[in-house]
């Protein structure tokens, strides 16, 4: 009884914090998503207008589609890049000091704010930017490439730049904890380098891959500022729909969109968790 009481008390502070600052706001968002709005105010109601607009509008569907497109492409690219970098750090660098040195090198870009990192691409990729000048100087193109900036390409480039580290860290972390004798055993049993990768390393790195993927998916799906800046406001994702609604005082509509986005992200993540039981693997 006493230990029971003590453990309840120990769990209480976190429960209270989560209930007040996570659960309650989410419940509020859910409630407000059924409210109505005028130009300048919101009023309590129980109506499905916000949802029926969301599901009835072809624009919303295409915005969700482009959000998913950004997510999937960014996820694939950050996974390939992140896995390669982590693999190199974990298995090709033998010296721990060099390993940690190179790992810290990866984090240097994170010393500046991510908005600055993002905006610094704009002069680089622009019509008269360095990239185009270099390409034309080398005679690869005659005219500046327009699609380098303010396009889906530049949006995904910025996402990859911003979020690859979130892939590198957890993958690297699980890779260094793989027992090296397993790799030696595989080699002794005649496995080729590729077979070791697919049969030993990748299965054992799955938890890291999943954690990195959850970071990237959640960050990309919830983003609005990268898409706005890097597409020159020409593309939309769900985050921008929400921020537009908030800007125009349409809180109920923003709340409804948030609820749908939240459900979408949770579905995506629960699908991912079907493949790996993170708690067991850790």
């Amino acid at each position: 009884m006493r230990t029971n009481f003590r453990s309840w008390m120990l769990a209480l502070p976190l429960t209270v914090v989560l209930a007040l600052f996570l659960l309650l706001p989410m419940v509020m968002i859910f409630v407000v998503s059924f409210w109505g709005a005028t130009e300048f105010s919101i009023y309590p109601a129980f109506q499905f207008d916000n949802y029926s607009y969301l599901f009835g509008s072809s624009v919303v569907w295409s915005v969700f589609a482009s959000t998913l497109m950004y997510t999937i492409v960014t996820w694939v690219v950050t996974l390939v890049v992140g896995f390669t970098v982590a693999y190199f750090l974990a298995f090709h660098i033998r010296d721990t000091t060099t390993q940690m040195g190179l790992f810290l090198l990866c984090t240097i870009p994170f010393w500046t704010s991510n908005i600055i990192r993002m905006i610094s691409w704009v002069p680089f990729l622009g019509r008269n930017g360095l990239a185009n000048q270099a390409l034309m100087g080398m005679g690869i193109t005659d005219e500046p490439l327009e699609w380098l900036l303010f396009s889906d390409f530049s949006v995904i480039l910025a996402f990859v730049h911003l979020y690859t580290l979130f892939m590198v860290v957890p993958i690297f972390n699980t890779m260094v904890r793989i027992d090296r004798s397993l790799i030696e055993a595989a080699r002794d049993n005649g496995a080729s380098g590729f077979q070791i990768l697919t049969n030993v390393i990748i299965p054992l790195t799955k938890p890291g891959i999943m954690i990195g993927s959850i970071f990237v998916v959640a960050l990309v799906m919830g983003d609005f500022i990268t898409v706005r800046f890097m597409s020159g406001s020409q593309s939309a994702n769900v985050g921008r729909l929400i921020s537009n609604d908030i800007g125009l005082l349409q809180y109920p509509s923003a709340a409804a969109t948030s609820v749908v986005l939240l459900v979408t992200v949770m579905i995506v993540i629960s699908i991912m968790l079907r493949f790996v039981n993170i708690r067991k693997e850790l």
């Binding site: 130009e39 300048f40 105010s41 295409s62 303010f150 020159g232 800007g247």
Partner: protein, 421 residues
């Protein structure tokens, strides 16, 4: 009686004196207590300058705290957080949205010393007695209410003002003449395929839709009954024309903030776009050619003013009136005129400008010497003439004002479709 205790009698006397003082504010008490007053002003970035707050402290003695927001955020604050500001520096179309919330109080014009110097555009919509009133949310249509506490806009000047006008301007397209190389005369040029991939429009729906309407009308594709209050049909057609152009790759980017428009223009990404006057000046000060091109169809105009929060009373309210009277007395006007805006009471501003500055900015005369920005940077040299010419030429050719339409919510949804298309 102990020194540090007040007697019941002295407390009572003090309380009644305070009550009398707040009912009949006497100048002596004013001067002593005014220093403790702080007024919090929210507003669109166009007129939030630290120089103004510093000058208020110097001239009037109290503290003015300014918060600069974009138009949408300013609307949001004024409509939903009444307690978070004392003075709202907003545009007239925002006033149309916000006034019904009751968060602003009507102002008694008899307390405004320079009321008669305010230009008539803000009183009856006409620059001169024979000019026609432009379309859209013209400031005089939302500038007055029938009395204190009234939510209904008055048809004519009633003596109770919603906003005291501060600055306004006539906007048009900005161009890079060096990269275009030929004269531009019409709004229709924004969608000219010649500028494919090098055009831009601003992504603020209530202003962007007006620029779109100017373009569609200039192209001869749509005839609007009132550009400032479109029907659903007109909105559909307008957005359809622009979605088609967007899909064809006409636009390089859209911009939402002042800086973005400056960067797009000065980097050469864009050669023709919706623009604001100080942004043109900013591009020029970087050594690039940039012109605020007058167009034959006329200007799209906007006006801003300051409104008082409903909760202001007593000394704070007096300070706010003092601030308004100071605002119209000329120093701020001169300061803002040097940014390329117009002041609501031009003749008082003249006192705070040199003859050359007045000639260049207001009368459209060639500059005699260097024209400098309020911060002291040289922006024009002798011989330069302001784009569009004099005050009368520019403000006399306003085709429409920034607006809020009856179908605003529908328009916003269509605007989101345009952005997502």
């Amino acid at each position: 009686m102990k020194k540090n205790h007040y007697s019941r009698r002295s407390v009572l006397a003090g309380a009644s004196a305070a009550a009398v003082a707040s009912a009949f504010p006497a100048p002596m008490i004013w001067a002593q207590e005014i220093k403790d007053v702080t007024l919090r002003q929210i507003g669109t970035g166009v007129s939030a300058f630290n120089e103004v707050a510093a000058k208020v402290k110097e001239d009037l003695g109290f503290t003015l705290e300014m918060t600069a927001l974009d138009s949408d955020a300013a609307t949001q604050r004024a409509a939903t957080q009444a307690g978070s500001f004392d003075i709202a520096d907003i545009e007239y179309w925002i006033c149309k949205k916000v006034w019904p919330t009751g968060n602003l109080q009507a102002m008694d014009v008899s307390r405004i010393t320079n009321y008669d110097k305010i230009t008539s555009i803000f009183k009856d919509g006409k620059l001169t007695p024979d000019s026609t009133i432009a379309q859209g949310t013209a400031p005089h249509t939302v500038g007055f209410v029938e009395g204190p506490g009234s939510a209904k806009f008055a048809d004519q000047s009633s003596g109770w003002m919603t906003l005291i006008p501060t600055i306004y301007n006539a906007d048009t397209l900005g161009i890079r003449p060096d990269l275009i190389g030929r004269p531009i005369e019409s709004w229709a040029e924004l969608l000219n395929p010649e500028f494919k991939g090098r055009a831009s429009i601003l992504d603020i729906s209530s202003i962007g839709i007006m620029d779109m309407a100017m373009v569609c009308e200039a192209m001869g594709k749509i005839q609007y009954a009132d550009k400032g209050n479109m029907t659903r049909d007109e909105i559909d057609q307008t957005i359809a024309i622009f979605i088609e152009a967007k899909r064809a790759g006409q636009f390089r980017a859209f911009w939402k903030t002042f800086d973005e428009s400056v960067n797009l223009m000065s980097s050469g990404e864009v050669v023709i776009q919706s623009m604001w006057s100080p942004a043109v000046t900013a591009v020029r000060s970087r050594g690039m050619e940039c012109k605020f091109q007058p167009l034959k169809e006329g200007y799209r105009s906007w006006g801003g003013g300051i409104g008082l929060a409903t909760h202001l009373e007593g000394l704070q309210l007096d300070a706010a009136y003092e601030y308004i009277n100071w605002y119209l007395s000329g120093w701020v006007g001169g300061f803002l005129m040097r940014q390329g805006y117009y002041s609501a009471a031009p003749e008082t501003s003249k006192l705070f400008m040199t003859d050359d500055e007045w000639g260049y900015w207001f009368e459209g005369k060639p500059a005699q010497g260097d024209i400098t920005s309020p911060q002291g940077a040289v922006i024009e040299t002798a011989g330069a003439v302001r784009d569009g010419g004099s005050f009368e030429e520019r403000m006399g050719h306003v085709a429409c004002w920034n607006s809020v339409m009856d179908e605003n919510q529908y328009m916003v949804r269509k605007w989101n479709e345009f952005i997502a298309a």
